[in-house]
């Protein structure tokens, strides 16, 4: 198995939607159904990400199969001497492929993207129910230094 990481294309969107839905925590929140890939809002969101230099939708693929995804957002700011932050969101690995180290490869690759761009910080939040994910991020060098607050509108 050789994983490759690349920017998602329109053709990847159905596979990404399947990965986003293939998740117990999202299901418990009521977001576990596969969104309709013909929903205009999904395509508008894809086009917005694709057109934005500070947002990248990523897929990890094994040959032709999409086995993971995440989104990278580069955030300019005045803190930390004007350095950018890299925010990682919507990390998913195919449930059939978990426990094989793919998530670690994906996150390490994402961190290297941030480092190469000169970011001063990489950050992400993870639902408190995901105890396995927390051990995983700690092992990758992240510190669980913050509370993550969410307000659904």
């Amino acid at each position: 198995m050789t994983l490759t990481f690349r920017t998602a294309t329109r053709d990847d969107v159905p596979a990404i939607l399947t990965l986003l839905a293939d998740d117990g925590v999202s299901r418990d929140r009521g977001f576990g159904t596969v969104p309709e890939a013909d929903d205009a809002r999904i395509w508008a969101a894809f086009e917005a990400i694709d057109a934005d230099d500070r947002n990248e939708l990523i897929v990890a693929s094994d040959g032709a199969e999409v086995v993971g995804t995440c989104q990278l957002t580069y955030i300019p700011g005045l803190t930390r001497n004007g350095g950018e932050r890299l925010l990682i969101e919507a990390v998913r690995i195919s449930s059939a492929r978990r426990g094989q180290g793919l998530g670690g490869e994906l996150i390490r690759w994402a961190v290297e993207q941030g480092r190469a761009r000169g970011c001063t910080m990489v950050q992400l939040t993870s639902d408190k129910k995901r105890a396995d994910a927390h051990r995983f991020y700690t092992k990758l060098g992240f510190a669980a230094s913050h509370e993550g607050f969410k307000l659904a509108l």
Copy 2:
């Protein structure tokens, strides 16, 4: 006192840098010195935020005095049916003005900006050392549902 909220201009940058530095947790991290306002990186970051439709640097002012700041980032995504997230970063209130409800006004105003734009979620992280801030965000309706992971590069 009547607070007004507006997009920051170049003239506000020195006051914002002073607010960012006026913070015990940032000082403990080694980021508590006022950055040099003539540092080219700070101005490059300001210009990047100012030119980006998905980033807004905000000041809260009482008359001519800047008493608070935060940064808003609107993040497109495929989750939650293609809705944008609003990320709030770098929230500061002048130490001389804390405990007067200004932070609550600033965050409520920020949440309303997100709601008016059609965001499906507002999110932020807060250092685990800021116990007062956590009570404050909970009171404003946020759920501390996530762990916030950071990796300094």
